[in-house]
Symmetry: none
Subunit: 231 residues, 2 copies
């Protein structure tokens, strides 16, 4: 589990992106850059960064619009966003936060401030459901220790099954198509057969054993669902 966080910087001015990137890299972050909304979107689905630094003013789709767009799509809905804006536009702050930004920084800012805020947001958003253990009917998944147990007894899972189960446990009672599962669990830029999902479902069920395999439910003609309720 790589603990280096990926940050996507979206700004139309290359020098600014560069400056920020340097600051962040010195602080141990990995940086991606995009100069407009479309490019940013492509990179997000592609590389799944851990957070987005978004310039307020951009030609084409503005930062706010883009943030809103990200919030709407489930795939990116919980992506942390920090808005960057020029000074003296306090009223924008309102709109920025409304649009779903997690924080707001006005230029000019010091690298130290940026890193500090970023850390804060990351600390605040990352543990949200991501680092907390989840458990259902005696089945527990602990993201921190990367372990799954049934009534305390450990369950062996391959990496993919683990991610799959983690996704399921954090998105219960929802039917997902194989395609959606591929997007969410495998990642945006892998191209595998949809049937592969079946196989991993199978492996997951087998690993869960009779006691818990009812949780992974088939929704015929649609996909799969994880739920503690039968049928």
């Amino acid at each position: 589990m790589s603990s280096t966080k990926k940050v996507l910087i979206v700004d139309d001015e290359a020098p600014i992106r560069e400056m920020i990137a340097v600051a962040l890299e010195m602080a141990g972050y990995e940086c991606l850059e995009a100069e407009n909304a479309n490019q940013a979107h492509a990179l997000i689905v592609d590389s799944k960064p851990d957070m987005v630094l978004l310039d307020w003013m951009m030609p084409g789709t503005s930062g706010v619009d883009f943030a809103r767009r990200l919030r709407k799509d489930e795939l990116t809905a919980d992506m942390p966003i920090i808005m960057l804006t020029a000074k003296g536009e306090e009223e924008n702050k309102i709109k920025g936060l409304e649009s779903g930004a997690d924080d707001f920084i006005t230029k000019p800012f010091s690298p130290r401030e940026l890193v500090a805020r970023l850390k804060a947001v990351l600390r605040r958003t990352t543990p949200k459901g991501v680092e907390e253990p989840v458990s259902v009917d005696g089945l527990t998944l602990d993201p921190i220790s990367h372990r799954v147990t049934a009534e305390g007894a450990p369950i062996e899972l391959g990496p993919t099954e683990f991610r799959l189960l983690q996704f399921f446990m954090t998105h219960q009672d929802r039917a997902y198509s194989r395609g959606q599962l591929l997007d969410m669990v495998w990642g945006g830029n892998v191209y595998v057969e949809e049937r592969t999902v079946d196989v991993h479902i199978r492996r997951l069920r087998k690993a869960l054993g009779e006691r818990h395999d009812y949780l992974v439910q088939t929704v015929r003609g649609t996909g799969y669902r994880f739920s503690a309720n039968v049928a």
Copy 2:
């Protein structure tokens, strides 16, 4: 699926277009072809494809320019675009994304990859309608979890019955002919006996049980109706 997607292939080399078209048609897409920007533009306005496959290198207006042009026109601004380019031109990738392409494939590519990418792009650009649960007299259908319950107790439905019920619950108090139901629930381009509808109505009623089967009402000489009010 219900609606077959139309894909416009723009490339100046006919054999390549043909190859791509064959691959896509096998995967169940409908294909349009154009060999230059003008022709492509005409087809776009004319047939409104769901996405465009655009060759990077073309005589006349190049792929990038054309993409830009599409992005500028409001009518075509959100048309998904996948760029095709020759290998070993990584820096083009940047420009491709800049110009607004949603994805980028370098030749040579396998048909499988092409189809997979296409699917992915289509999946993430097709906005999913926000689906709220509907409920009538204790009967609830939740599109998200893909579940139907009567007073909380789950009801088993096959895919077709599910769609049928979903259609009914979102179009209540209105009589539909069997033909209309076939169009709406089965999809426009399938040929099945109209009496098949009767059978599925029967199955639906049976699944709903005595408690709720009154909701599905026969309109003699016309078809069926879903309503909480008794006729």
